[in-house]
Amino acid sequence: MSAAEQDLIQALSDEEIGEIEKEITHLNGRKSAAIDALKIVQKHRRYVSDESLQAVANLLGMSFAELDGIATFYNLIFRKPVGEKVILLCDSVSCWIMGGVDIREKIKSKLQIEMGETTPDDKYTLLPMSCLGDCDHAPAMIVGEDVYRDLTNERIDEIFDE
């Protein structure tokens, strides 16, 4: 491994490297830890930057392209900066029937952002998501780790005023 590659590995914190190495011990071959490693980096840094991706690739013995192919396949691995919390708003059919479009417009005007954007205070990023499996409580969304159901304009105000 060249000095430059060593440096890049240092772009990951010891803690991240530790967690990734631990995953590797459960698996057959370092490359098998690719998705877990990306999730670990994302947990620590909210998203996977090019530098982090290169560092993970070096750590796992993969090329940038190979790992980025995996990273970009999954829409919940973020390759661009996101806010503290990511809003995953369902845009699938049940939610749409139950007024999902209004909810989307409400959130957009409440946070003053378009779909795919992050609020200027870096708190929220708004992304669409297909069926959260909560159709019986449509419209639904996930904010950070929490699921919100039976959304109404008032609920939106409450949630984001908190």
């Binding site: 060249s2 057959n28 071959g29 940038f64 392209a65 190979e66 980025d68 192919g69 970009t72 396949f73």
Partner: protein, 921 residues
């Protein structure tokens, strides 16, 4: 052979095959995209759908993918029921939703597999009216254009590039309609085999950038079967012309040699044919030192006069980049004793040693196809990727034999590509690389170490001894080397089909001898042992065979004290063969230097008479590759001006001089025949290809497609009357669209079959998919081992270890696929990737000299002081210095074994950005 029923017709097919291949082998049509004969099936595109019925009573059946369905006794299929046809049509309609339908401006158009399949499935009307995806295209380097919108997501490109060729910088990104095939950012594709993407991608996503500069549709190209002159591998190519310029090189399938793939030197390195330094006319130097243009006749009579009235000896200098025929004729003109092989004594010694081993030894030299079968490979001192690139690609396939074994054990058919890979994970057959610097095959090597040629030879000798103690033992090996020896011995002993690879790359006879000893030692216990020895140029081995009995080399000539008045140099830049000093001194003593060559070069500049020679694209000739296979190359078009094949110049010169036997020489066929007669070792070369009078049903073989509509329009701006096409006297090919083409022709200028306009048509030419061509000769092997299989111990001289230190470094050539080869380096696209000169040294060495990368070092060679830029490279052994082979300003280093370096005073670092192909650090 199981019997299957397809559309009510019963067929016997090969057991173990999939239905798609079985149908193609029956010469039936079925559309497909993702399946590839060299890469197997993954069932990704869903295009090859057919209906399979449970039994005769089942009249609904179910959709299956032909490429994923094994044929077995009694299986019943239908390809032409409506449901199957509709399904396939819908699949293609879906693929076309995001396709730009830009065929008129697409460079794939007219030879596009997607077009062919669209027509075959009958999808005619677009019903989708929504918006389409638009991707951003990438800059991928000087070879390949990228137009992602045309992608149909078949995954062939990444499967070829990563899985097959081992590239790591091309991938599939994102998913669904956003799937993107490219690099993670713009940049030059790293693989030396990237060019095959042009042929592997079934659409116009990856296209040939060098063709694009003067684009011509396939149907308007004039093509001929050719042999790549880029290295000694002898890959078969289909070379194409339009408007008197070479436009492109495509792969020409040969199941024994290159299969479906070429390297990028071969594909993009033929641009030298169009180089502005081409010599169009004969020239004679006048008293003021300027060249006067003269006619061919004047030039010939001038040379004939000079030879007839020469005061001293007349010598001929041959060349390993000229055909057997040309070398032979020159030898006939000057006489046996006055013919010099055109390479240094060193090189001739190495080539001779290789011929000894191949001929008198007991171990067989495999074809490239057989290389892929090896289950353990040991490489000694040869950088395969940069000296015989296609061989490196074959070795890369050999490491997959382990996964194939596992698949056979698990009863998985080998065409089940994803399953076979999944099963094997990272298990590879062993590959051992003992080389002087980091090799591009290292990612799949089980063991690699870098050492000087001497140390490599010593390890090799020791391996042979450990395999069989009748072979000379080696004293004083270091502990690490001893360990390497043991590991290598274990690997080779465990193998069923071991292969030893070496060659002239390390410029060391001992390395080649060590390789032979190992092969012979192994052979005693294992008859499947094989040895492959690489030679540097396209006809090195041919000239080696021709000159087998003749010990005259260029070095002998340069050292000779005879009075030589005239020298005729055949297609050879002597400055690449011996030091500048020697060549300049030699030329100065001559009265007349006659040079026959195609491109201006340093030797041409010294000549008194220059005769313009054809390149491979404008003449015919026989070449012998490093497997000992003789193959014929044909003219694609007629040379401009007075350009003629060297053999034609020499035939005419021989006639002008009334040399014996020349009067009877009519066409190249008669020269080939004479050449064959002159030398037992060349027996068979006349049978390599049909002679000029060969006809199929009274017809010649067409170089143009029958759709070459543009021919009449080519000169319409000048005159609407189309000039008569040139008549080809020299071969069975014709410069027209009239004549036969297609599978029945014994020479395949291009592949085409009704409904199959793309290169995929080749399966119509094969006896079975991936198998031999049914009517084309794959070349004839001239050398088979004479030995009776008993191990022999011929080589006993173990080199002594290099004396350590003393301030001098061993000079080792580092080869560059783009740059080290003389002719390809003069092609524009290749030149763009060629490195600038440098000297690579180990970190320890750098420290001693107190230099860092980009500093300069200084040294003297002969009476010249040279300065080169330093590259510090941790894969270089301390005590060695690597220089790029074959670059103009490092040529003299080739003839030097050692240098003493010092830091260059007043060095200004170069400002180029061209370090990309030099060592990473």
């Amino acid at each position: 052979m199981p019997k299957i029923v397809v559309d009510g017709i019963s067929y016997e097919v090969d057991a173990g095959n999939n239905l798609l291949e079985a149908l193609l082998n029956l010469k039936r049509d079925l559309p497909y995209f993702c399946w590839h004969p060299s890469m197997g099936s993954i069932g990704a595109c869903r295009q090859c759908a057919v209906i399979q019925y449970r039994d005769e009573d089942d009249d609904t059946g179910r959709i299956v993918m032909a490429c994923m369905t094994p044929v077995s006794e009694g299986t019943i299929f239908s390809t032409d029921t409506d449901s199957a046809k509709e399904f396939r049509r819908d699949v293609i309609e879906n693929m076309m939703i995001n396709h730009p339908h830009d065929c008129p401006v697409c460079e794939e158009g007219g030879e596009c597999h997607l077009q062919d399949m669209t027509v075959m499935t009958g999808h005619r009307n677009r019903t989708y009216s929504g918006p389409k995806n638009t991707f951003r295209n990438q800059y991928l380097g000087p070879f390949i254009d990228h137009e992602m919108n045309r992608c149909i997501t078949c995954y062939r490109c990444v499967r070829y590039y990563s899985d097959y060729a081992g590239g790591v910088d091309l991938a599939a990104f994102a998913s669904r309609n956003n799937t993107y095939f490219g690099r993670h950012q713009d940049g030059i594709l790293e693989s030396e085999f990237a060019g095959n993407l042009v042929e592997v991608c079934p659409t116009g996503v990856f296209t040939d950038k060098t063709l694009s500069e003067h684009y011509t549709r396939k149907w308007d190209l004039q093509s001929a079967p050719s042999i790549c002159v880029g290295c000694g591998a002898g890959c078969n190519t289909s070379a194409s012309e339009r408007y008197g310029q070479l436009r492109r090189i495509h792969n020409r399938f040969n199941d024994q040699v290159n299969g479906y793939f070429l390297c990028d030197r071969g594909r993009f390195g033929a641009g030298f044919v169009n180089n502005e330094d081409r010599i169009p006319q004969a020239g004679i130097r006048d008293s003021e030192g300027k060249y006067d243009r003269v006619s061919a006749e004047e030039a010939l009579s001038h040379v004939a006069d000079q030879l007839a009235n020469s005061s001293g000896k007349v010598v001929g200098i041959g060349s390993p980049r000229a055909s057997l025929e040309s070398n032979y004729l020159l030898k006939q003109i000057v006489g046996e004793g006055n013919f010099y092989s055109g390479v240094s004594s060193k090189e001739q010694e190495l080539t001779n040693c290789i011929i000894d081993i191949m001929r008198d030894g007991s171990v067989k030299t495999p074809s490239l196809a057989e290389v892929e079968e090896a289950d353990a490979v040991l490489v000694l001192g040869q950088d395969l990727t940069n000296t015989a690139p296609r061989l490196a690609l074959a070795v890369r396939q050999s490491v997959r034999n382990r996964s194939k074994e596992l698949a056979v054990q698990a009863q998985i058919p080998l065409w089940q590509d994803a399953a076979v890979r999944e099963l094997a994970q990272d298990e590879l057959s062993p590959l051992v690389l003992l080389t002087s610097y980091a090799d591009r095959l290292e990612d799949v090597a089980s063991l690699s170490c870098h050492a000087s040629a001497t140390d490599i030879a010593r390890i090799g000798f020791a391996v042979a001894n450990r395999l069989n103690d009748r072979f000379t033992a080696v004293d004083g090996l270091s502990e690490t080397d001893q360990k390497t020896v043991e590991e290598v011995v274990e690997i080779l002993k465990a193998a069923d089909r071991p292969l030893i690879v070496s060659g002239t790359g390390s410029q060391s006879k001992s390395v080649i001898e060590a390789a032979a000893n190992i092969a012979w030692a192994l052979q005693a216990d294992n008859e499947q042992t094989a040895i492959m020895l690489c030679v540097p140029e396209c006809n090195s081995l041919g000239v080696g065979l021709l000159e087998r009995e003749n010990s005259n080399t260029l070095t002998d000539l340069l050292d000779s004290t005879d009075t030589i008045s005239t020298a005729i140099v055949l297609e050879n830049d002597l400055f690449r063969r011996a030091s500048t000093q020697q060549i300049t001194a030699f030329a100065a003593k001559l009265e007349q230097l006659v040079v026959i060559d195609s491109l201006d070069n340093a030797t041409v500049s010294l000549s008194d008479v220059v005769l313009p020679a054809a390149t491979f694209a404008e003449t015919e000739g026989t070449l012998v590759n490093n497997e000992g296979r003789a193959q014929r190359s044909f003219a694609v078009f007629e040379g401009a001006g007075d350009i003629q094949g060297s053999w034609q110049w020499l035939t005419n010169l021989g006639k002008a001089l009334s040399r014996e036997g020349f009067a009877a020489l009519e066409r190249i066929d008669s020269v080939t025949a004479e050449c064959e007669r002159s030398n037992d070792l060349l027996s068979g070369i006349t049978k390599v290809a049909p002679t000029a009078d060969y006809r199929v049903e009274g017809m010649k073989i067409a170089r143009m497609t029958h759709r070459a509509s543009g021919r009449t329009a080519m000169r319409a701006n000048i005159n609407v009357h189309e000039p008569k096409q040139p008549v080809d006297q020299e071969s069975a090919l014709a410069y027209t669209m009239e004549g036969i083409s297609g599978p029945r022709a014994p020479l395949s200028a291009y592949v085409w079959s009704p409904g199959w306009n793309s290169n995929q048509a080749v399966h119509k030419f094969q006896t079975e998919t991936g198998g031999p061509l049914s009517h084309v000769n794959p070349g004839i092997r001239l050398i088979e081992p004479a030995g009776n299989g008993s191990p022999q111990e011929r080589y006993r001289e173990v080199p002594q270890p290099r004396a350590a230190g003393a301030g001098s470094l061993a000079l080792i050539p580092r080869y560059h696929i783009f740059g080290s080869d003389e002719m390809s380096a003069r092609s524009k696209a290749i030149a763009e990737l060629a490195p600038s000169s440098y000297l690579a040294i180990a970190p320890e060495t750098a420290q001693r000299l107190s230099v860092v990368s980009k500093d300069g070092v200084e040294f003297t060679i002969g009476n010249r002081t040279l300065q080169l830029e330093v590259v510090v490279d941790s894969s270089v052994d301390d005590g060695c210095a690597l220089f790029p082979a074959g670059l103009a300003d490092t040529l003299d280093l080739m003839h030097q074994a050692q240098v003493s370096l010092q830091k260059a005073a007043g060095w200004t670092p170069r400002t180029t950005t061209q370090d990309k192909l030099i060592a990473k650090e």
